[in-house]
Symmetry: C2
Subunit: 314 residues, 2 copies
């Protein structure tokens, strides 16, 4: 009988659960609302709903183990204060799900799961060590050392989004100044695009795509316009790539890492953005690293959550 | 018979070799000129001179193993392009010294050795994970994870001195901009002090201590003046501590480290400098880290080189 694994991607709005093969293929998936506003017990019940539906479909005995990717800091199976889930201080999700299902459970931070998914089944299979960056609403990350997640003494490692590239820079929602997230997170990119459009006399493809409604400016719109040669869109994304390169050079100089894999919503950006990141990173790292620097696009896309969670136990 | 270890601190000007006990005590030490201008073969001969003298003193059979701390990047016993040693591209120092002595040899970067010395016998004995910073002529570092050196895939980890705190900041001798070393390395501190003294109308203790010769401004002079309440000296060192805190917050957010140990020449600075570092670091790290941040003074001082090298094999 084929060994099967459950990968559970716990998000603030949706719980996505997949039945995953030992080769990292999703055989089927299901999802339910997280019901985050009802607090931890309700969230656990929602997770169990998806688990039960998979047990019914494949038979409980088919499953070796359950992996769960959760937002926030995760340490020894305990999920601490995940953003956007009500009344959740510290919950030992690993124990709770294990006690209900009777099956082995491992819980890890979701960004770390996505990094591990790329290490085992994605763009990172040939690299023992790399930094994985999630570039989307915010900027997150996961560090893979010797093919394993480096999750830090307290489970808080990889917060590249909140490293500063200018100690006098713009205020970030974390309270720090000049965090890379405060330059290239989705909200900043949209705001910066709006500003450039408002003061520019150049016709922009972006205006067409958003039908004149500045609230509709999103990274995929900027990407689309850039692909069509729009100069403002190209300027915004090149600048963002250059700034990200500065933040990455700090990581490289601290950890001696030369490979970076970029995932998350904005990672679908055109190749010139990757070129901008690479050029900036190469110009800023210490000389011995320069010839070996590479910045790769993640391969697993939207499946990274489920596959990443399953990767914890495969 | 007591087990003995040789710790060799290879510097650009001096080779210092100590006979070290398994408790990390230096029983005796010897030193010779490195003869760096004569190239690698001469340097190896100088190292062997110190080893032979220790063998004569204690008997070769007393020694278990030899540890060597070397400047530059060290990977698998190979020392790459150490600064200020002529015609040294890549030398497998581990093999060379092993073949001559017949004893087990381990070679590691000198900053990493000093970090390990603090972990085993100094300020870090109670901490499994910490960042060690050498603050002197430049700013270097070593990362201790789970009581071991994290030396990185290529032996280049811990280069905190060349992480940027402002991508538009002053040029650093590494080619990057805004590196913390370009703000608080010895040369910068001396230069900044000179500037403040020249434009200030306040009487400064520093002027007395340097007998009016601005070339005599060195960190220990600034420290001494600060201890005597000199406002300019206090301003310089507080500012430097605050800036160092910014760089440390990046490391903490990436690696989830909450303990920092500061060694090197400038670490002898008064307590208020440590307070400035701590305040700045605490204000900049992500909230979960804040209550646990601590910045400690290294304990081993000038002995860190020899003890650190010996720590590799103890």
């Amino acid at each position: 009988m084929q060994k099967l694994f459950l990968g559970i991607d716990l998000g603030a709005t949706t719980v996505k659960t997949g039945c995953v093969s030992s080769e990292g293929k999703i055989l089927s998936e299901t999802k339910v609302s997280t019901e985050a506003h009802l607090g931890p017990n309700a969230v656990v019940q929602q997770i169990i709903k998806t688990v039960d539906s998979m047990f019914e479909q494949y038979g409980k005995d088919s499953f070796e183990a359950i992996g769960i990717g959760a937002p926030g800091i995760v340490n020894n199976g305990i999920v601490k204060a995940p953003p956007n889930i009500s009344s959740w201080d510290e919950v030992n999700l690993q124990n709770e799900i294990h006690q209900i299902t009777g099956i082995k459970v491992i819980v890890e931070n979701d960004a770390n799961c996505a990094a591990l998914a790329e290490a085992k089944f994605g763009a990172g299979v040939h690299y023992k060590n790399f930094l994985f960056v999630i570039w989307g609403t915010g900027v997150g990350g996961g560090i893979i050392l010797d093919r394993k997640i480096y999750h830090g003494p307290n489970g808080g490692a990889g917060e590249i989004g909140h490293t500063t590239i200018d100690f006098n820079g713009p205020e970030c929602n974390c309270g720090n100044r000049g965090c890379i997230e405060a330059y290239i997170g989705q909200r900043y990119l949209s705001q910066r695009t709006k500003e450039l459009l408002q003061k520019s006399n150049v016709q922009s493809k972006i205006i067409e795509l958003i039908e004149g409604d500045f609230n509709k400016i999103e990274p995929h719109v900027i990407s689309l316009a850039a692909e069509q040669g729009d100069t403002i869109a190209i300027e915004i994304l090149s600048e963002a790539g250059t700034l990200l390169g500065y933040a990455l050079s700090n990581v490289s100089n601290i950890l001696d890492l030369e490979t970076v894999i970029i995932g998350g919503g904005i990672s679908a950006a055109p190749q010139f953005v990757y070129d901008a990141i690479t050029t900036s990173l190469q110009s800023r790292v210490l000389k011995p690293h320069r010839p070996n620097i590479q910045v790769l696009r993640a391969k697993l896309g939207n499946s990274a959550g489920i596959i990443g969670a399953a990767s914890l136990v495969i």
